[in-house]
């Protein structure tokens, strides 16, 4: 047993960028716990990664991140797998889209719940484990689409005037606001940092989840121009595995430090969102 081995949790780790991130981190010698929605896909991914190179340690936990209860159950299932109760990296990669408004079990909007709320709650539930290592990192996979949008405070679930892209953009903006606010809240208290990364256009099946017609056709056309998931994942792996000094910046586009949108830097919006999120999850966090 190698004392220096680090443990990473990756959400949405059965396909696309998440799968590649899990595979590369495991190949690089990290212990990886993947989270996926389908037990079947989790099994296949685990098998595929285990057989890849000698000795990668990968396990999967099945969870539906649209449900707060399921997120809590996932955290509870992850904890006993952590050596010494220590978690070094938490990578929030899972995301979905839907061209229809779908209410989750808790009555929240699907994209908001999966792309953002789950990240908040999972971080909170695993926080005691993240507080243990010297250099813990929470990495959120954001998107350039968080730009040129705002949080719709009057109807944060966008129930009354739903739009697929509108909801996607808002959920990604929320994720960036969360990332930066998390840094403000842990600063000087915990040896933990949050990093946001936008992978740009990547050739994954994201735009084909719960969509159809024009949205799907457009995505099928567009995804071909994207980066391969393995290439995109390599940058996330660098942020996760690279030396701390090299990842001092808090927001990245692939391998390049950049600025998120001005709205994402707004402290008042971040605070308001944090409070709303605590309320929605029925928890207090930091």
């Amino acid at each position: 047993m190698d004392e220096n081995r680090k443990t990473t949790v990756v959400t949405g780790a059965t396909s696309g960028i998440g799968f590649e991130t899990a595979r590369q981190l495991a190949a690089g010698g990290m212990d990886v716990i993947g989270i996926g929605r389908s037990a079947e896909k989790c099994g296949l991914a685990e098998k595929s990664i285990s057989s890849g190179s000698p000795g990668p340690r990968i396990r999967y936990v099945v969870a539906d991140l649209s449900s707060l209860a399921s997120v809590r159950a996932a955290a509870a299932a992850v904890k006993p797998l952590l050596p010494g109760g220590r978690l070094d990296r938490l990578i929030h990669n899972a995301a979905t889209v839907s061209n229809w408004y779908i209410g989750t079990e808790d009555g929240y909007e699907l994209q908001f719940a999966v792309n953002y709320l789950a990240a908040f709650l999972l971080t909170r539930e695993l926080f005691p484990c993240l507080a243990r290592p010297e250099d813990a990192r929470v990495i959120t996979v954001s998107s350039g689409s968080h730009r040129r949008t705002e949080i719709n405070w009057d109807d944060p679930m966008l129930r009354k005037a739903y739009g697929c892209l509108k909801a996607y953009k808002q959920s990604k903006l929320a994720l960036v606001l969360f990332t930066l606010e998390l840094n403000r809240r842990v600063a000087a208290r915990f040896p933990l940092r949050a990093l946001g990364v936008e992978p740009g256009l990547v050739d994954t099946g994201l735009g084909e989840k719960n969509t159809g017609g024009l949205v799907r056709a457009y995505w099928r056309h567009r995804r071909k121009k994207g980066l391969g998931p393995a290439e995109a994942a390599a940058f996330i792996v660098r942020l996760a595995a690279g030396p701390a000094a090299e990842v001092a910046h808090d927001y990245w586009r692939l391998g390049r430090p950049i600025e998120p949108s001005p709205y994402a830097r707004r402290v008042d919006a971040a605070l308001r969102l944090w409070q709303l999120t605590e309320k929605m999850c029925g928890v207090e966090f930091l």
Partner: protein, 266 residues
């Protein structure tokens, strides 16, 4: 005592959206659903976001004794209502001779019997001095006989006719009754797949986002109208349905649902 809006089928897609709509606008809500676990999860999520009282009481509306027990409990606890949204409904796709045993009867029990019972009982527990608004969720499907959804569509026709008759009976009183006839609303991944991939252009044009429909139902419920069809195209379809003979409509729709079912199987 607060005046509550009773919502049946509250843990389903439209029920959740209506509950959120009413509660966010300041109406205390009394939610019931057949699935206790889903109702509890949804009720807890809603309660955290709104300032009004959210009461959850699971009940199988096809079980007469359970329904009576619920109303006794309501009476004993002094709940009074200024609204009833009959949302609970059941469907069953497929050929009539292939429906599983008891399915047809279950559809009739939820869509017809339960709706009538709840309407009757809420009149006994209405808030004094307030208008009582009853909203019955029928379906766009009630304007035509529908092969492969024969029992469902006919049961919704009952809801439609019953609501209009009651609306007329209650004219001039402070009870309003409205039938809502929405087209499909994709509210879960299976329904989303059906609309996105299997129902063609008509599916995409007629189906509406459930949150928008909930908002419109809220706004329309005080209009005094007997019928509300959400969506302009759907209003047009209803109009056209009046011009086409029943058998021709049935043939047309039969083909449409055959095709969709075929695609869903693949």
């Amino acid at each position: 005592m607060d005046r509550y809006v009773m919502i049946t089928g509250a843990a389903g897609g439209l029920g959740k959206a209506l509950a959120a709509e009413y509660a966010e606008r300041g109406h205390p809500v009394f939610l019931t659903d057949v699935d206790p676990r889903r109702l509890e999860a949804f009720g807890a999520g809603l309660e955290r976001l709104v300032d009004v009282d959210v009461v959850c009481r699971p009940c199988d509306l096809t079980d007469e004794r359970a329904v009576e027990a619920m109303w006794s409990w309501i009476g004993a606890n002094g709940f009074v209502f200024d609204g009833l949204l009959n949302v609970a409904g059941a469907g069953g796709d497929g050929r009539f001779d292939k429906l599983e045993a008891g399915r047809a009867r279950a559809i009739l029990k939820v869509n017809i019997e339960a709706l009538v019972t709840m309407t009757r009982r809420v009149l006994e527990h209405r808030a004094q001095g307030a208008v009582l608004r009853i909203v019955n969720i029928a379906s766009l499907g009630c304007f035509a006989p529908m092969p492969l959804k024969s029992v469902y569509a006919a049961s919704k026709r009952f809801v439609y006719d019953f609501s209009i008759a009651l609306h007329e009976e209650m004219r001039g009183t402070d009870v309003s009754v409205m039938a809502v006839c929405p087209a499909g609303m994709p509210t879960n991944p299976v329904r989303v797949k059906s609309v996105n991939e299997c129902q063609g252009v008509m599916g995409l044009l007629t189906e509406k986002n459930v949150g928008w429909v909930a908002k419109r139902i809220y706004e329309r419920s005080s209009s005094g109208r007997a019928v509300y069809v959400p969506g302009r195209l759907n209003v047009l379809l209803r109009f056209l349905s009046k011009l086409i003979p029943a058998r021709a409509k049935a043939r047309l729709l039969g083909r449409r649902w055959e095709r969709a079912a075929e695609l869903m199987r693949n």
